[in-house]
Amino acid sequence: MFSQKLVSQGNIRLFSTSSAAAGRVGCSLVKPVHHLIKIDKNKLSPRFPELNLEKNDIRNPGFRPVATHQDRVAEHYTNTLQSDLLLMNFQHNQRRKEGLKRRQWDGSSPNHPSRTLRKPKGSEVETPDIKIYTDKNIPIIESITLNCYTKLAKDNANHAISAALQLQQITNCKPKPLHSRKDVIAWGVRRGWLMGAKVELKGRPLSQFLSTLTEIVFPRIREFKGLSSRAGDKTGNLSMGLTHEEISFFPEIESNQDQWSKTYGMHINIKTTAQTDTEARRLLSAYGFPIHGTERKNAF
């Protein structure tokens, strides 16, 4: 009684031994916050005040200039593509199309009220609504992630290092190591092994990679059909793969062939703000991505 009163008065955390004796749970009703808030103690140190500045502040040791050259890909998008995309996606009197949502149970079982809702029709997961296309949601390529997971690294971790260097050479960005997530007996892989590298491209590095890909690499791939019209995650993110032979068409690799007797294939995941895959493919076609096959009928 006494402790309850205290709690209600001022939110004081009270661990009363007597409450346990009274048959109550000996824990606080106030949620502990100290486990949730992570404190970067380096920031508290007065030793390097420059490190606490923004990364784009020139006094920060980690400062890197961004706009070092004209970005012709991004400028092409704003000058030409954006208004065309707006017109292509526009439809008069369009209505918001509701995505697939979880359904109610029919109530035939007494357990239904407490059960989680039924799966959406024809899908495992809920899908987002398709909003009206306006000038506010013109699709744009947000980022490209290059994922270079190499099977060879399970026998020799050196391959993962070479794969990381290959990504660095192609993109001029620092790659992150990629570890296997689970034990997979069939692949002979254990959790936590270094298996390759990945890198996420944004801004100018993205433009650079995109133009290299469409202007130098794709034209040289023999019998290249392009992106499939059926690929994608239904929410506007597309991915494709390059084999290890195709990697050697990148000029950075090709001009240094004696170092690259062995190259590693990679996955290219393109993240766009498009609402559907059809819209995303339309966006990519503007950058010179060939696309094969026809779209599904109810693509929009």
Partner: protein, 166 residues
């Protein structure tokens, strides 16, 4: 990178070092010979050497320049330049956005107008072209023009072959 299972056949980098480096036995008397190389010949295998080189390319060690130290005047100058650039970019962005908003409004109004004037033309104009893509001739502008600036000798395709896109 270190995999600690002595029985597994997995070759690791660290183990690669160990196996490649043959530690010479120190038995026998040490004899000093003038002019003989005392430095051990590198016994690292070429593969391991290659990986070491690759790792050092990736690493920042001994490659990082000095931290920039700007004087107060330079800092003020830099700040002014950055602000000017920010304002310039913002103006461009606002102009672009307002143009797009106008375009959207215009196409909406035009379609509403078309609906009131001619229903059939409106229906044709409002059909979703699902397979519409940008043509491959759409190029990202380059810094300098190609040798042949414009392709004039276009021959139209046979009309019977072209199908209506939809």
């Amino acid at each position: 990178m270190l995999r600690s299972s002595a029985k597994s056949s997995i070759q690791t980098l660290s183990r690669g070092f160990l196996s490649a480096e043959q530690i010479p036995s120190k038995s026998g008397p040490i004899q000093f010979v003038r002019g003989k190389r005392t430095k051990k010949v590198s016994s690292i295998s070429p593969q391991t050497q290659k990986i070491i080189t690759q790792l050092s390319v990736l690493s920042a060690r001994k490659k990082v320049p000095r931290v920039l130290k700007l004087s107060n005047e330079d800092l003020v100058r830099h700040d002014a330049v950055q602000r000017a650039w920010g304002v310039y970019q913002k103006d461009k962005r606002i102009k672009n956005k307002s143009d797009l908003a106008k375009q959207y409004e215009a196409m909406n109004n035009a379609m509403t107008d078309l609906k009131s004037t001619n229903r059939e033309l409106y229906d044709l104009a409002n059909v979703r072209e699902v397979n519409k893509k940008f043509p491959l001739e759409f190029r990202i502008p380059t810094h300098f023009p190609p040798n042949k600036v414009w392709y004039y000798d276009y021959v139209p395709k046979d009309e019977t072959k072209t199908t209506k896109e939809n």
